[in-house]
């Protein structure tokens, strides 16, 4: 793999990582086994794999929420954006985003002042006071993403960020996120089961095998942003990605 030769220093490095969970009435279930993956500083890496292949485990390892049973996980400070938005229903959108600063000691007004400009930048102006229940699913994900950004960590771990959205909203949100990531220059690890989503967003796509998950292929995506799902260059990569996934699944 040429990926390891990248000049950028690694923000996330996983080496032969294994993680298994105890199972009731049986032996342990291996979620990940022998997984190695490097993410360069400022790189956006998409992780694609069949459901149940340990993608969420991978992100929790990177975020330091779990420790590996085997191998090595090294990562700069990372923040998690969970699959469901994880917003607090009793707070307005602005306060939800600003929560990232409040929990580490910032005052209410200070945190709001830091979050407010982002609402304008990321198309949420006018929704500052709306509670999550009054926002569309897409809007909630945007607020959750802003909270993730405001945490100020170098690494963002996005777990199926648009998994709960309908196809149309999803396409719009992918374009929005691609633009946001271009503006923010963070290291991003985005987990998805949607190959096209990964190709639209990421600089590189890692394909995971079914459980126990390990990286079976890595594809560089060189097309310039903004990308469209219908981009012919992506089409070829999509074929390769699906082929790798198919081989991994064993069909």
């Amino acid at each position: 793999m040429e990926a390891a030769e990248r000049a950028r220093p690694a923000a996330v490095a996983l080496e032969g990582v294994g993680r298994s969970y105890p199972r009731r009435g049986g032996g342990p279930v291996a979620a990940l086994e022998g997984l190695s993956l490097q993410v360069g500083d400022g790189e956006v890496v998409g992780v694609v794999g069949p459901s149940g292949c340990g993608k969420t485990t991978l992100l929790e390892l990177v975020c330091g929420l779990q420790a590996p049973d085997a191998g090595r996980v090294e990562a700069r400070p990372a923040v998690l954006m969970p699959q469901r938005d994880g917003l607090l229903p009793w707070l307005g959108a602005l306060d939800n985003a600003a929560l990232a600063l409040r929990v580490t000691g910032a005052g209410r007004e200070e945190a709001r002042a830091a979050a407010r400009p982002l609402f304008a930048t990321f198309g949420l102006e006018g929704f500052e006071a709306a509670r999550p229940g009054a926002l569309s699913a897409g809007m909630r994900q945007r607020v959750a993403f802003l909270r993730t950004l405001l945490a100020g960590k170098p690494v963002l771990c996005l777990d199926e960020p648009f998994g709960a959205l309908d196809a149309l909203t999803r396409a719009g949100m992918q374009a929005w996120l691609a633009e946001a990531l271009a503006r923010e220059a963070r290291t991003v690890l985005v987990v998805t089961h949607d190959v096209e989503e990964a190709l639209v967003l990421a600089d590189r796509v890692a394909i995971l095998s079914p459980r126990p998950g390990r990286v079976v292929a890595e594809l560089d995506v060189d097309s310039p942003h903004p990308r469209r799902r219908t981009d012919p260059a992506l089409g070829a990569l999509r074929e390769r990605a699906l082929e790798a996934l198919g081989e991994a699944v064993g069909t």
């Binding site: 929790e60 975020c63 330091g64 929420l65 990372a78 923040v79 998690l80 954006m81 969970p82 699959q83 469901r84 994880g86 607090l88 229903p89 009793w90 707070l91 307005g92 306060d95 929560l99 990232a100 409040r102 929990v103 580490t104 000691g105 006071a129 709306a130 509670r131 999550p132 229940g133 009054a134 909270r147 945490a151 960590k153 771990c157």
Partner: protein, 252 residues
Amino acid sequence: MSGPRRALPALALVLALLAAWELYARTGGVDALVLPAPTAIAIALWNDRALLWANFLVTAIEVAGGLAVGLALGGVLGVALHLSGVLRGALYPVLVASQAIPIVIVAPLVVVWFGFGLAPKLAIIALVCFFPVVVTTLDGLRAVDRDLLKVMRTLDAPRGAVLRFVELPAALPAALSGARIAVAVAVIGAVFAEYAGSSEGLGFLMGQAVPRLETPRAWAAVVVLAAFSVTLFTALGALERRLTPDPRARTP
């Protein structure tokens, strides 16, 4: 809101029960000294209104104070049991067991410890009503979404911040449900406390009236207590709705 309309079924039920009761008492089903007719109770309510009011004020202060102590104790214990697994393992069974002790057994002890003033009443009421608050608060705190807690960890939120910003607000509706149960039993606690030793209050009044065969007066005191209970319960429900507003709304 159609408050009056919603109250109709309750009103109809109460009237039906009263009618049945009146009929039962009048047809001589049981001695009037044991169970007076509702009309006799109503007459006692009117005739003894000054006496009932004066004693009601005493009991109301005891209930309010005892509830405040009980709710605070219950809330603090709920949070403490949530924060410490060791404490939960050690104290939770003891608390459950403590609820099996009839208050009449411990009431004299409380009087020995706290004397005959307001303090023993507060202690007994608090003892009677703190437990539901512990249980519902603890359950509310433990039911917080695991994913949300993971996010808080990656946001580097200290334990205190997680409690303040996430767990406590999330557990508030559950804690208030416990508080409503507490309100309903606090009044009974007050009666027990006054029975155990006092010279005023509605519980004391009942204790005096029953042996003197002034049953309508005792029942009138019960009516006042019941009305007080319903009022507190309703007020707490209103508070709960205020504190846990519609999540679809906008922040003020």
